[in-house]
Symmetry: C2
Subunit: 208 residues, 2 copies
Amino acid sequence: MRSYGEYCAIAKSLDVVGDRWTLLIVRELALRGPSRYTDLRGGLPGIATNLLADRLRELEHAGVITREDAPPPIATTLYRLTPRGEDLRPLLDELFRWGLPLMTEQNPEDAVRSHWLAGAIGLMLTDRTPDAPPVTVELRTGDQPIVIETRDGTIHTRLGPAESADATLTGPPKPILGLLLGLLGPADAKAGGVDFGGDTTIIERITA
Amino acid sequence: MRSYGEYCAIAKSLDVVGDRWTLLIVRELALRGPSRYTDLRGGLPGIATNLLADRLRELEHAGVITREDAPPPIATTLYRLTPRGEDLRPLLDELFRWGLPLMTEQNPEDAVRSHWLAGAIGLMLTDRTPDAPPVTVELRTGDQPIVIETRDGTIHTRLGPAESADATLTGPPKPILGLLLGLLGPADAKAGGVDFGGDTTIIERITA
DNA sequence: CAGCATCCGCTTTGATACTG
DNA sequence: CAGTATCAAAGCGGATGCTG
């Protein structure tokens, strides 16, 4: 990207991370941790491969990421956020918060990746009864299951199946999100295609 | 900008405000309040006028800004942030914070506008002795003076000359910023071209 | 297969000129 | 003042090819 040529902190930030795809690459590294080139591409559907290579170079040059050889026996290079790159997390959080209302419009051709939802869900849920025993909810939507766990009154999310879920939600991402956000009641969510499993009262405990 | 086509809140935010110039237009409206087309152009040196017109249309369509006729006798239209647009302020703040370290590099051809600095300076200064009598500092840099005032222990900034400043700093923006950020001592700031006026001990009171 | 580089058609941007 | 019109240059998306 051409520099804006402004002596302004906001413009200088955008000089570095304002390019198309750049912040989404940072998002991938923030959500997945150190990643291979191919995994990044999988999380950025539609990016041209040369563009990904260009952006990674620029981000490395700007001190936002580093490339490193993975420890043996894995023969690949990993891309990782530097501390300066980690400092972008609050910015990603703000983008997430501002964009959340837009999630009510799901374009049919929108790609869905569970890890996009997982990392963000923790930002919007709270455990209403933190002193009650911890619970586990599994969301079955997107390309892999999402596990929501309460620990010490805070919400944690991770990918992959739960060993034992107290409740499960299965269905399209939009009504599941609507339910968790408190925009949809259980009846509306069911009508939207969500299947409830296990102890459904738990859902109320963690919805916003 | 083409949509990223991702069912992800961050990507959906960027679908709306990720275009080149878009967030800088929001910055202008956030810093200046309701503005005329020509004033926006003045705060966005280098933007092509057709592009500004395009972006304003898109932002209006996205519900981020509104255009309205100014009250008589002024015959012009004003652009103003909607509440949804105001919600972008925390995002601008994060961009500002992340970009602040980049302000140590000032490209000689970087444009300087006082209002870019003024709105942001309040984010980084604190009054260390809030119980002491309020003070006023005037910065003479950029295209117009900046007034820093302490009120009730918090820092306020505005543009335009101060009626009576307790201290003044005159010179190039970079060393003035370095001084206020605590990166430069008074001697270094002087060496960088900063002229001190009035009671310079006040500067220490408000530097980060 | 992972990790790019090259090429090509298309879209977006930047610069300038022009108009109500 | 507040834009629209035009056009060259840069950037992007998609396909393909190369290298360890």
